[in-house]
Every structure is written in structure tokens, then in C-alpha cells.
């Protein structure tokens, strides 16, 4: 048994952390993440140049990683930096292109790609997708497509001949209405009206499930990184903020609550490790569901408690905690919330 990170991944984590500290400083984040294009094109180019995207896809497909732990390392670093760069779309895109044996070189070099699955009435549900393809033309609406604003290329899940298929669409051929998210970063509504697309997977269901699970793992790792920073901010505040003539951290009521968060964050790290280790195996879906379920609860608790123990300052725009807290809570709205993943686990229990 060995829970140490490999040297390669440690180096990747360190170099990413150094790069992000410089390219995405949290003090500048509000200027970048909340106005068009809702991320930094310079930081994006820098991430590509650093080779960060190579860690997200396997050697067979042309990358240099792609395992659960590679994904977790990259996204934990992004989470610690509260980086608004739309890397999630790249991860999903690379994984789907690899499943379709398509070339990934341009995406590795930084081409912006977004994966459009969810719809207004089917936010997480592959069975509910109504977007259709006929004769290579797509019609339908995709909602809250992460990284959709500014993407050059869209991978779109659509019904075709009774199967869920995947299409490669040039963003310029679709109507893409971009916007920023409440926690920063770009997204879009994508409207397709007889929009031409190249079918890359005729039966994409298994590949989509796998990619969405990889995405959910990435989001958990991102949240883990953000939680670590929140915990550091909280402990620092408890030690330095004085009321009633002493640091507020001297009050046992607050100590216990801060410790409870610490315990939950350790649980969060453990479930990410378990899910990352399951990548590529038969239990990946179940482990990811367990992770995303726990993260929905823990991330909310960490955000709310950290804000509460900070008091008013914790809900001011100027103080970075507010933005970390928003990101932590809103991650539960991406790729299946805590109830959604609990239902997956319940279904599995019932079937067994």
C-alpha cells in the first residue's frame, strides 16, 4: 500500500501550482472570471504551452496521462487557484475524441472545445436528450454548456437512428449565446437548427457515461483543492480575528466546528483517491457517484460554515472566500448533484 503521489505527478502538481499562482492570481480573478470572455486567453494559452492538457488523455490516444490520478492532480491544482479556465470541456472533449479514435492534437495544443450534453428538461439525464440528428443535421437546444462561450468546437450528444450519437460541430455553425456563471467562468446556450455536424460516435452512450464520470471526478478534485484553501483561510481567520479580547479561535464552539470541517475534508480526499483509483475499471461509475454524492454535502458544509465563522466579511465580493464558497456550492450543479448521484447508488443497491 502506498498513498504517496508518484514523482511525475508531484512535479506536474508543482509546476501547475507555480504557473497558476502567476497566471491566475486570486486577487485578479474577479476582473477575469466575471466579464466576457469570463476567463483569460493568456492563461489558457499558457496552460496549453505548459502541456497541462496532455495529462488529461492517455498515451495511446496521443497524450501523456489520462488516468484518474492524472485528472485529479490537474483539477486539484485548478481548484486551489480557483482558476476559471474552461479545462473541464477539454477533459471531456479529449476523452470522447479518444473513445472515437479521433485526432486530439489540436485540442492538446489549446483549441477550445466544449461538450454539450445536458438540456433544459434533461440537465443530467442521457435518456432525456431530445436533440436530434437527421442526415448529418442537428436540431435542438443544449443548456448551460460549460466552456461553451468562446469554444471553437462543440461535441454534441444527439439522438440518431434510435441511438445516442456524438457529433463534432464547428461552433460558428451553431447559435452560441455565451454568458458567465455566478461563480465565474464561461458557459453558453447552444441552439442547433439543422446545423451540420460530423458523426464521431454512432453509439456514444458508454463513452459519454465514462467521460461524464471522468468529468465528475475532475470536479470533485477541483472542489478538494478549493476546500483546502478555504480551510487554510478559516484557520488563519480564527487565529487572527479578535473579538471579546481574544482570537475567535479560542472559543471551543468554533474550534469544534472547524475541526468537523477538517474531518470532512479528509473524507473528501479519501473518496477522490478511491474514485481516481477506480478509473478504467468496472467500479468507476459507482465510485464517482459515491464521491460526487459526498462532495455535494461536504462542499456545501465547508462553504456555509466557513462563511458563518467569518461573519459578514465572508459574504463580501472583495474577500476571496466568497468566490471559493460560490465555486464549491455550484460544483454540485454540474454533471449531477448530490441527489442525482445518490439515486445512482440507490439504483445499484436495489438491483443487487
Amino acid at each position: 500500500m502506498n498513498f504517496e503521489m508518484s514523482d511525475d505527478r508531484r512535479m506536474l502538481a508543482d509546476s501547475l501550482a507555480r504557473y497558476l499562482a502567476d497566471a491566475c492570481p486570486v486577487e485578479k480573478r474577479a476582473e477575469v472570471a466575471y466579464q466576457a470572455p469570463w476567463h483569460s486567453e493568456t492563461a489558457w494559452a499558457g496552460l496549453a504551452e505548459l502541456g497541462a492538457f496532455y495529462a488529461l488523455v492517455s498515451e495511446d490516444a496521443g497524450g501523456m496521462g489520462g488516468s484518474g490520478f492524472d485528472i485529479a492532480v490537474v483539477f486539484e491544482a485548478l481548484g486551489r487557484a480557483l482558476c476559471p479556465e474552461p479545462v473541464l470541456g477539454t477533459l471531456l472533449g479529449l476523452r470522447l475524441l479518444a473513445a472515437a479514435s479521433k485526432d486530439v492534437e489540436s485540442v492538446l495544443a489549446g483549441q477550445r472545445i466544449a461538450v454539450a450534453v445536458g438540456e433544459l428538461d434533461a440537465p443530467y439525464d442521457l435518456d432525456g436528450i431530445e436533440t436530434r440528428a437527421e442526415g448529418g443535421l442537428l436540431t435542438g437546444r443544449k443548456s448551460v454548456v460549460y466552456g461553451g462561450a468562446g469554444a471553437e468546437r462543440l461535441l454534441i450528444a444527439a439522438q440518431s437512428d434510435g441511438k445516442l450519437a456524438l457529433f463534432d460541430v464547428a461552433a460558428k455553425d451553431a447559435q452560441v449565446s455565451g454568458y458567465g456563471m455566478i461563480d465565474g467562468g464561461p458557459a453558453a446556450e447552444v441552439f442547433l437548427d439543422a446545423t451540420p455536424g460530423e458523426m464521431v460516435l454512432e453509439d456514444a452512450r458508454a463513452a459519454l457515461e465514462d467521460a461524464l464520470d471522468a468529468g465528475a471526478l475532475a470536479l470533485c478534485a477541483e472542489a478538494l483543492g478549493a476546500m483546502g484553501v478555504v480551510q487554510e483561510m478559516l484557520v488563519d481567520y480564527l487565529k487572527t480575528r479578535k473579538q471579546f479580547g481574544q482570537p475567535i479561535g479560542a472559543f471551543q464552539a468554533l474550534q469544534h466546528r472547524a475541526i468537523d470541517l477538517g474531518i470532512e475534508i479528509e473524507q473528501a480526499r479519501s473518496i477522490v483517491i478511491l474514485a481516481a483509483a477506480a478509473e478504467g475499471g468496472p467500479e468507476f461509475g459507482k465510485r464517482v457517484a459515491q464521491a460526487k454524492f459526498l462532495f455535494g454535502k461536504i462542499a456545501r458544509q465547508v462553504s456555509e460554515e466557513a462563511i458563518q465563522m467569518h461573519g459578514g466579511i465572508g459574504i463580501t465580493w472583495e474577500y476571496p472566500l466568497a468566490h471559493f464558497a460560490k465555486r464549491l456550492v455550484m460544483i454540485d450543479h454540474q454533471l449531477g448533484d448530490t441527489d442525482w448521484h445518490l439515486e445512482r447508488l440507490i439504483a445499484e443497491l436495489v438491483e443487487a
Binding site: 428538461d121 443548456s143 458567465g180 466568497a322
Partner: protein
């Protein structure tokens, strides 16, 4: 045991309902019902309508222009207003300063300021908290030093809600620097047009602007604007914090929020069905509804005790804790119900895209913003301290 309001109270309730259905402008109530914040104009318009009926400050004694309502009438009025989606009454003049002036003010202060609260000439804001004095309010440092007929005020206040609309501020200031900190505080009324005052906005987590910092540099305030005796400000502040706390649970807001979440959960879909049919979500909703029903009765039990002349002591602190926790849980459900549609940063440009059902686009922002309710007005930690002190003494 009888859980119903008395006949007279029921008559009053019907009267309030009739009034609201006739007098509350629909275009305001529709927006509030969709979860939007009232505008300044909405609040001023609603205040004027209420004032015409004599109900803007119903708990004030009749000699000051009120109705002399007791806690049960106030409760009925506030519940009905919330149910009808009326804008919240801005509390700083009507609920806070008014009762203070009636108890501690000079006849001149009462004559000058009370009518101006009712007719909308004055919009008051509150200068209590400071950057270094939050939960530990008694450690406040903004000082008022006597210079002839004036005080000279220097310091900084923060979290001043809706200060951007106000023309006056009531402040706690330090007038004595030795001895117990509570014994050197005074209560001062300040015109915001006085030279030396600067108000700066504080942007909140969801991007909105409702609180401010207020800076005082050599601000000269006439001694006639001192309320009560010098160095008795802490007594006044405690009176104010203890006033009308029987309605602190905000159950009217929760009832309103519960209805909004139910309606939303019938509109949005998961796995091809309305969300309300999802057992996990329905369980969350049913749980918070049970909590809400219980706190409504807890609230009525305390009201009944207060109306019978009983002393409430620390009990309203329970209502603050439970009431805010329930409201925040409902805000959580309103956000959660939307799934990914909660994610867009609300803007008018997005309304055309109709990503979230009408009126729900602000649900995530509302959830984040309402983290404040367990922090302000004495954080829930302070409320627990108050209860614990009562328990250990008892």
C-alpha cells in the same frame, strides 16, 4: 388549548387581507412573488400606502401615529404581508429608531423625527457595527468628543444596510474611554449631509449592493441629537435589539419561500418527471415544511406568552436561530431545484434565453446573499450565547 386566533384577531386578519388585496399594487407583488428584490421606489410607494392606512408602524402608540398593536396583531399583519408578496417594510425608522425615540427621546426629538419617519421624509440607516466590532459590539471605537454644543465624530461604521438611500443615520459612538466598554457608549442621530461623512458601497457575494461602509472625519453633530443620557447608549441598543423580537423568526418569508419552491419543483424536470415527484427532493421539501410548521407554533407560543404580559427573556433567540436556518434551507432548495440552470450569472440579457423558469434566475444569488441572515442582527452564535447564559443562570 386552542390553536386558533381569537374572534377579534380573526376579524383583524380578515381586515388585513382585504386591505392587501385592494391596496397592494399587483405589479409590485408579482415581482416580489417571483423572488425579485423590491426597488427603492417599490419600498417608498408601499410605505406611503401603508402610512395612509395608519399601518406603516402599527405597533407605535396612537399618540405617535400608530395603532398600538400588540405582538399578535403585528404577527398577523406581517404574516399576511409576506403571504401577499408585499415589499418588506424598511425597519430602521419604523421598528428601530421609532420605539427608541418613544422611550428615550426628548419631546422635541419625538416631534421632529417621528412624523418624518411615517411620511417618508427621512430614510434612516444604522451605524452600529465596525470593522473591529462585530459580534463584540461593545468594543466599538468610533468616537464622539464634546466641543461646546457639538460632538466631533471620528471613526468608521460598516454593514450599513440601504445606507445609499438614507438621509440620516443613528449611531452608537464612544463618549468615554475608561471603565467598562459598555458604559462609555452613546446613541447619536446624524444627518448624512453633514460635512465629513463618506459612504462607500460594499459589494456582496452574489454581486449585489445593499450594505455600505460609512466614514466619519471631524463630523460636527449638535448635542441636541444625543438620545438619552450620555454614556447610556448601550442600554438603548439593548432595548432596541430586544424590541419586537417575537417576529424575528420570519416565518412569513419562509411560507412564501416554501410556496415558491413547491411551484418551481412542479415546473422543472428530472428523469422526465417533475422534480416534485423525485423522492429525494420531495423528502428535503417535506422535512423543511415540518420544521416550518413547528417553528410557526413555537413562535405563536411565545407571542401568546408576550401578549399575556409574560417576560420572554432569551427565548426569541431560539426563533432567530430556527427561523433563519429554515429560511436558508428553503433558499438551498430553491437553488438546488434548478440544477445547472442555477449557474448563469443573472443579467437582463439572459432573461430572453429563459434558462431558468421566470423569476428563478436569481435563486443561486438569493441563496448566497441570504447567508447573511444567520450573521446579522446578532449572529446565531451570539444567539446561542444568549440562550446559554439564560440556561446557566436559570
Amino acid at each position: 388549548m386552542d390553536l386558533n386566533f381569537s374572534e377579534a384577531e380573526q376579524t383583524f386578519q380578515a381586515e388585513v387581507r382585504d386591505f392587501l388585496s385592494a391596496a397592494l399594487p399587483r405589479e409590485i407583488s408579482e415581482r416580489i412573488g417571483r423572488g425579485e428584490e423590491p426597488t427603492r421606489e417599490d419600498m417608498e410607494r408601499w410605505h406611503a400606502i401603508l402610512n395612509e392606512r395608519g399601518w406603516l408602524a402599527g405597533t407605535w402608540p396612537t399618540e405617535f401615529g400608530g395603532q398600538g398593536w400588540g405582538p399578535i396583531e403585528l404577527h398577523i399583519f406581517e404574516e399576511e404581508c409576506a403571504r401577499a408578496n408585499a415589499p418588506r417594510i424598511v425597519p430602521f425608522g419604523t421598528k428601530m429608531l421609532g420605539p427608541v425615540l418613544q422611550k428615550f427621546g426628548t419631546p422635541e426629538q419625538q416631534a421632529e423625527y417621528l412624523p418624518r419617519i411615517l411620511d417618508g421624509c427621512d430614510w434612516w440607516c444604522q451605524g452600529y457595527s465596525e470593522p473591529g466590532a462585530g459580534s463584540d459590539l461593545a468594543s466599538l471605537k468610533t468616537k464622539a468628543e464634546r466641543d461646546g454644543d457639538h460632538y466631533v465624530v471620528n471613526g468608521q461604521k460598516t454593514w450599513t444596510t440601504l445606507g445609499q438611500f438614507a438621509n440620516r443615520i443613528f449611531c452608537l459612538v464612544r463618549t468615554k474611554f475608561e471603565g467598562k466598554p459598555q458604559e462609555g457608549i452613546s446613541f447619536l442621530l446624524i444627518d448624512l449631509d453633514t460635512p465629513g461623512i463618506e459612504m462607500r458601497p460594499i459589494r456582496l457575494i452574489e454581486g449585489g449592493y445593499e450594505v455600505n461602509e460609512v466614514f466619519f472625519t471631524d463630523v460636527r453633530v449638535s448635542v441636541s441629537n444625543l438620545v438619552g443620557e450620555e454614556n447610556t447608549g448601550w442600554t438603548i441598543a439593548k432595548y432596541l435589539l430586544g424590541h419586537e423580537r417575537t417576529n424575528i423568526a420570519g416565518t412569513g418569508f419562509s411560507v412564501q419561500a416554501l410556496e415558491q419552491v413547491k411551484a418551481l419543483a412542479k415546473q422543472v424536470k428530472r428523469r422526465g418527471k417533475p422534480l416534485i415527484q423525485n423522492p429525494l427532493f420531495a423528502a428535503r421539501l417535506a422535512s423543511v415544511e415540518a420544521e416550518l410548521e413547528a417553528v410557526k407554533i413555537t413562535n405563536l407560543r411565545m407571542l401568546s406568552k408576550a401578549a399575556a404580559g409574560g417576560q420572554l427573556g432569551a427565548e426569541p433567540s431560539m426563533l432567530k436561530i430556527k427561523g433563519t436556518e429554515i429560511r436558508q434551507e428553503l433558499n438551498d432548495l430553491a437553488r438546488r431545484a434548478l440544477g445547472p440552470a442555477a449557474a448563469p450569472f443573472p443579467s437582463e440579457d439572459l432573461d430572453n434565453l429563459a434558462i431558468a423558469p421566470r423569476g428563478a434566475a436569481h435563486n443561486a444569488g438569493g441563496y448566497f446573499n441570504n447567508r447573511k441572515i444567520s450573521i446579522y442582527g446578532g449572529s446565531n452564535e451570539i444567539q446561542r450565547n444568549i440562550l446559554a447564559k439564560g440556561m446557566m443562570r436559570g
